[in-house]
């Protein structure tokens, strides 16, 4: 929950220290707008030596909902006293839409960045002109997470970091020191979840969808031995899944003439962005989970248990200009000499030694 930017000098800056939040999986962002881009990464060398500024929030998880009060404090650790004009806290929320190069045609790519959508912009003055003494000083602040009166956007989308769409909320603390001095500032991301009032009502019965994979369900070319010797993989999987819960289900290999190499479950994110007149859709794999390794016993039921990665998955979202959906793909790979020729092939590409089924997954917040 603490995000420290040392001001000791430019040389140390790239070594960012992530504390407990390393647990968040942040995908390689392909867009130039990186997660860290808005952060003032490079501090001037003339900044006061050994001055440190941190933001701390009251909740270790940094998770807040609409209408809740965000409490926190600005912690400064200084070697010498400094005077300031004012201390300002700014909360911002934006949806960044970026179409990955190569997805669209030449003309479309000219559009490049679709204009970001601003969800939240709120600033408040924590303290007016004064002086910060040496040592550790904590300056508390608090504000309510609600749209400003004149703001038109009423929905707070949940925090999400995808390949093309990123929804991000940041708190910035600035200690303004006038014109002669560079102000001290720090940025901290906080996470917004849907407020409870807006929750989808929990389906009373968990909805399992049965699936079956046989040589007849596959649209792509299969190995001849797979076509002659039959295979049949059946199971069921949850199609509505809470963010807190794993995707569950089961899978049974009923028959297979060719030995099985592996069974994998892929979580796929489908991001759509309205660019100009049409939607541009991009699918990307968020997580692959192997559930069977080797030629498993026939007619033995395996559990499907996939933990949803945090931040990379948000509730299924349909906004006007963009949408975020999820799919689950179940891929059965068979043992084949041919597969060794393509060691780098991913599970998305249909190959003759693979059979797969893709099922849409509705993610919701409970």
């Amino acid at each position: 929950m603490i995000f420290i930017i040392s001001s000791r000098g430019a040389t140390t800056v790239p070594r960012m220290q992530f504390y407990i939040w390393w647990g968040f999986k942040i995908r390689r962002l392909r867009s130039p707008i990186s997660l860290l881009a808005p952060f003032p990464l490079f501090q001037e060398p003339n900044a006061t030596p050994m001055s440190k500024i941190e933001l701390m929030l009251s909740r270790p998880s940094r998770v807040y909902r609409r209408g809740e009060t965000i409490e926190g404090k600005i912690v400064t650790v200084l070697t010498s006293p400094i005077s300031y004009q004012n201390i300002v806290i700014t909360a911002t929320g934006t949806v960044n839409l970026q179409i990955r190069a190569g997805l669209t045609g030449m003309i479309d790519s000219l559009y490049g960045v679709v204009k970001p959508i601003r969800i939240l912009k709120k600033s408040l003055q924590v303290a007016s002109a004064g002086k910060l003494g040496p040592g550790k000083i904590e300056t508390p602040f608090s504000f309510t997470l609600s749209p400003q009166e004149n703001d038109t956007i009423a929905t707070f989308y949940e925090t999400f970091h995808g390949g093309n769409i990123s929804i991000q909320y940041l708190i910035t603390a600035d200690v303004m020191r006038g014109y002669l001095h560079k102000s001290l500032s720090t940025v901290l991301e906080f996470i917004v979840e849907n407020d409870r009032a807006n929750l989808i009502t929990l389906p009373q019965l968990l909805e399992f969808v049965s699936f079956y994979i046989t040589q007849d369900t596959q649209k792509h070319q299969l190995l001849p031995e797979l076509l002659t010797g039959c295979f049949r993989v059946t199971g069921k999987i949850l199609t509505q899944c809470s963010l807190k819960d794993p995707i569950t289900g089961d899978l049974t290999v009923e028959a297979s003439a060719v030995p099985i190499d592996s069974v994998d479950i892929q979580l796929i994110c489908v991001e759509s962005i309205l660019a100009g007149e049409r939607f541009i859709t991009d699918t990307s794999v968020i997580q692959t989970t192997q559930i069977a390794d080797g030629d498993i016993c026939r007619s033995l039921t395996l559990p499907i248990y996939v933990v949803l990665p945090r931040l990379l998955v948000c509730p299924t979202l349909f906004a006007g200009s963009f949408s975020i959906e999820f799919h689950v793909s179940i891929t059965v790979s068979f043992q084949s000499q041919l597969s060794k020729l393509y060691p780098k092939s991913d599970l998305r590409t249909p190959r003759p030694w693979m059979a797969m089924v893709t099922i849409p997954l509705k993610v919701y917040r409970t």
Partner: protein, 935 residues
């Protein structure tokens, strides 16, 4: 006539085959020094020189210690015991399955290869790391397999462990986790399956360490605020409600992170490593553990699966579930996999058909441990588990949850309480019968069952039912060893409830099977245990031996071995022999009695106490007392006696060397020597007393001679002389009945007499009775027996001539190996009276030889005897006119009797010709002689 002077040493050198020094052993392996074999034992240590690693691990060790003390407080004694056993299991896994020295590394396990790329991993962006975890792109690139030694592998893992530690201390937990995943990924590779148990223990060590680190960290977060001020102290049996949300968040993050690992094996192993941490989040763990068991069904390789279940059984104990359903599920799943392995003709995973047995032996420790866990955790309703596995249910109704494999059943029986087993014994027997497969031999199951039944001491009626069933089963076993193993296990019950009829059946069955095939060492041990039980049980041996034929056969089986050294076995056999001996009817020596006597003497002959000579002698004494009426026994007694003496003599030789080499040792050696002499005398006395009671005079003579030899080697000259005299007198008695001797006996007598002559060379002459008194005695004995066959006579007299020739030499061919016995060459060489004595004996013998040959009626025999004598003379005497006359006359006799083309005749003639032509060349002549003698 002059005796031919011989230089034995020169002759030996002249006749010896030319030799070349051989610096290398011809059979030694042509091993190049580069392929030195590494020691095969497991070395597992932290290198003290690897400073940074040990520094880093210090604090971790402290943590681990704290952890273990906490655990010991938390858990009961049984758990503590299990913990110790776990450590023991790990070390035994390492030792039991030590494998060849090199391990092929498949590309998926490249964590073991050093790559410097990993060094910077901690400082890269989170996003990169995440992708790496998901894909591990390096793994698929390399295709070539690398081979490293086991030592390298082990030390690399140690390094990795230290690296993880360091990363953790440096607060770089991503790197620690990343490395741990790599380590856990190693367990996917089962290509070198004999290395797998070792690999498992090494990897589990690393994972346990990681698990402890995470546990401690989350606990710290729960107990301390951010500024390290203690907030609360968690009670040992805390619930998830006691944990602050901050710590829960961290904990949940860990599970999320681990949940995102792509591959199944590392994901399961890492979740198991931090399984304990579920306590921070939840209060009920049964569903979690069961889910993990279910997830393991995705592991197709039986080896990976079984060891994964083993680790689960270990880790789940820290949750105190109080429910063993998951362990039973584990067993069920392992059974399914095993069944597949057993049934499949083809290969499953990397394991080919051939090493199925090996694979099963690798799985056994895992199964054993899981079953053990079921019962140490206090399974409340132990009989339920039998129902779970389908014991007692009807096969035709397919309601059984699992298809049980006998190896699982075996360990189940091993750990089930005895009373549960005995209550369901008949059902279990049926179940064993239904589930026979190659994974475990069913006789081992029956043995376990037998032991448990005996332990539980059931009522007679219920045991009867079981035993009836067991006897049916037993009848199906044709292999002696299996039969013996089962019989041994149930004998206790049979004896306890005195079911004599079963005993008879079993003994009968053993005999039948023992006659059919060869009995080996293991079978003998089992047999002995059976007989021991029988003998211990009955107060009076006579009761047992109401069936002496049975025992007789047992003895025979036991005596097939080469020698017996075990005192208890000797004691046992002795008792048996005694009983047998009593059953022999001395007045009526029929075949059966003879057979028994034969067995007893064989037994006595095979006893060997090793270095404890006195005990052996006393044993022999006992035997004499016990089996006095058997003749044959005494033969073996004496043979043994001599055998001891010979060994003892070798011992004294060493002592003598010691006396000469070191005066300091002399006193001790002399004391030892005295002791030895006393012992030797007692042995001799034993023999002297025993021998006369042997009726067969050929045997008696043989024994006398052997004893005389021993006495001579022991330095007891007078004993030796006395014994030789006795031997000669034996010869006297022998010749009385000469007519009845078979040709075999004739050969034996003549060879014995020749042996006597050769012995006489060593016995020093006696000044009082004349130096040649024994020889004269011998001649007189032979002479007065006109009935003795001419063949014996010629051979013996030739031997006497050779002896005389030998005695005339300056240096004898051989001497008694005892410094106290002065050789005749030292005593008499150059003594004129001695020479005279010799020549008078020679002329006497020559005269007798002439007479004997002429008296022989049979032509061919006469010719051959003449040639024998001629050869002897040619060898013994210096070439002279007198000799050639003598020889010519002998050859003339031979020519008149034999066919002129007879080979023997021609070679003798040519020898004579050559010797007479080579008068001057002594050595060449000797050479010729030697070659003749060798022919």
């Amino acid at each position: 006539m002059e005796f031919r002077a011989r230089d034995y040493e020169a002759e030996e050198i002249a006749c010896a085959v030319p030799r070349q020094p051989a610096p290398d052993h011809p059979l030694a392996l042509l091993a190049s020094p580069s392929s030195q074999v590494l020691p095969d034992f497991e070395v597992c240590f932290d290198d003290p020189l690897r400073g940074s690693a040990t520094d880093a691990s210090d604090s971790i060790l402290d943590q681990e210690d704290r952890c273990s003390t906490l655990r010991s407080k938390l858990s009961g004694e049984a758990d503590n015991l299990l913990e110790k056993e776990w450590i023991f299991l790990k070390s035994s896994l390492m030792q039991k399955f030590s494998c060849s020295n090199t391990i092929t590394i498949s590309p998926t396990t490249n964590a073991i290869m050093r790559n410097n790329k990993g060094k910077n991993a901690g400082y890269r962006m989170l996003a990169d790391i995440h992708m790496e975890d998901l894909d591990d792109p390096e793994s698929t690139v390399k295709e070539e397999k690398k081979v490293i030694t086991r030592q390298e592998y082990v030390s690399r893992l140690q390094e990795l462990k230290a690296e993880i530690n360091q990363a953790w201390i440096a607060e770089d937990r991503i790197r620690a986790l990343k490395l741990s995943i790599k380590v856990a990924r190693l367990l996917t590779d089962t290509s070198v399956c004999q290395f797998y148990p070792t690999l498992f223990t090494l990897v589990v060590d690393v994972l346990d360490m990681l698990g402890n680190l995470v546990w401690e960290r989350i606990k710290k977060r729960a107990e301390y605020a951010d500024d390290r001020a203690p907030v609360c102290s968690l009670p040992e049996n805390f619930t998830s409600d006691d944990i602050c949300s901050e710590a829960k968040e961290t904990c949940y993050n860990w599970f999320c992170k681990i949940g995102s690992i792509h591959e199944l094996v590392p994901r399961i192993y890492l979740e198991l490593a931090i399984l304990r941490c579920w306590r921070f989040l939840e209060d009920s763990f049964v569903s979690i553990v069961e889910r993990l068991v279910m997830m393991m069904r995705g592991l197709a390789d039986p080896l990976t699966s079984a060891y994964c279940h083993l680790y689960l059984a270990h880790c789940a104990r820290s949750l105190y579930l109080g429910d063993d359903g998951y362990l039973i599920m584990s067993l069920g799943d392992i059974s399914i996999l095993l069944r597949r392995v057993l049934l499949d003709k083809e290969t499953v995973g990397h394991h080919s058909c051939k090493n199925k047995y090996f694979l099963i032996s690798l799985l056994k420790p895992a199964i054993d441990w899981i079953v053990k866990c079921i019962f140490t955790e206090g399974y409340q309703n132990a009989s339920n588990i039998l129902v779970e596995f389908g014991v007692g249910s009807d096969l035709s109704v397919s309601t059984r949850k699992f298809s049980c494999v006998s190896v699982v059943l075996h360990y189940l029986l091993k750990h089930l309480p005895a009373d549960v087993i005995s209550n369901n014994a008949v059902e279990i027997i049926d179940f064993i019968e239904q589930n026979k497969d190659m994974s475990v031999d069913s006789h081992l199951d029956y043995r376990l069952l037998g032991h448990k039944l005996y332990e539980s001491q059931q009522s007679l009626s219920s045991v009867c039912v079981v035993m009836r069933r067991i006897m049916q089963v037993l009848g199906q076993y044709d292999n002696l060893n299996e039969y013996l193993i089962i019989a041994d296990a149930y004998l206790d019950i049979i004896l306890l409830y005195s079911m004599e009829n079963y005993l008879a059946i079993i003994l009968d069955g053993i005999l039948k099977r023992a006659h059919a095939n060869q009995v080996d060492q293991i079978e003998i041990e089992n047999l002995q245990s059976i007989l021991g039980k029988i003998i211990d049980h009955f107060d009076r041996l006579e009761d047992v031996l109401a069936m002496p034929t049975c025992l007789c056969s047992f003895l025979m089986i036991l005596c097939r071995d080469s020698h017996i050294g075990d005192p208890t076995r000797i004691q046992f056999l002795f008792e048996v022999s005694q009983v047998l001996h009593e059953s022999i009817d001395t007045s009526n020596m029929n075949d059966e009695s003879k057979h028994k006597a034969d067995l007893i003497s064989r037994f006595v002959g095979m006893v060997n106490f090793g270095a404890e000579w006195e005990r052996h002698l006393s044993f022999l004494g006992e035997s004499r007392a016990a089996f006095g009426s058997i003749d044959e026994l005494k033969v073996s007694l004496n043979i043994l006696c001599f055998w001891i003496f010979l060994l003892k003599l070798l011992l004294t030789q060493i002592l003598y060397v010691l006396i000469h080499s070191s005066n300091n040792l002399a006193i001790k050696s002399i004391r030892d020597k005295k002791k030895f002499l006393g012992f030797l005398k007692s042995c001799l006395a034993f023999s002297e007393v025993t021998i006369p009671s042997i009726s067969d005079s050929i045997q008696r003579m043989n024994l006398y001679l052997e004893t005389a030899e021993i006495a001579l080697f022991g330095g007891l000259i007078s004993h030796s002389e006395g014994l030789v005299t006795s031997a000669i007198s034996c010869l006297e008695c022998l010749n009385m009945t000469t007519g009845s001797h078979s040709s075999n006996d004739v050969d034996q007598i003549s060879s014995l007499t020749c042996k006597l002559c050769s012995l006489l060379l060593m016995i020093p002459g006696n000044h009082e009775e004349g130096s040649m008194s024994l020889i004269r005695n011998l001649i007189a004995t032979l002479q007065c027996h006109s009935l003795a066959s001419s063949k014996i006579k010629v051979q013996v007299f030739c031997a006497i001539i050779s002896l005389s020739a030998g005695l005339s030499q300056k240096k004898f061919l051989y001497h008694a190996k005892n410094n106290e016995v002065i050789s005749n060459d030292q005593l008499y060489f150059g003594d004129l009276s001695f020479d005279e004595e010799l020549s008078s004996i020679t002329s006497l013998v020559l005269q007798i030889l002439d007479d004997v040959i002429k008296q022989e009626m049979h032509l061919v025999t006469r010719g051959r005897l003449a040639l024998d004598a001629c050869n002897c003379l040619l060898v013994s005497f210096e070439t002279s006119h007198e000799l050639s006359l003598k020889c010519s006359s002998l050859i003339d006799i031979a020519k008149s009797c034999l066919h002129p083309k007879e080979k023997y005749l021609r070679s003798t003639v040519s020898l004579m010709d050559r010797l007479s032509s080579n008068l001057g060349d002594q050595v060449a002549g000797s050479l010729e002689l030697t070659s003749v003698v060798q022919h």
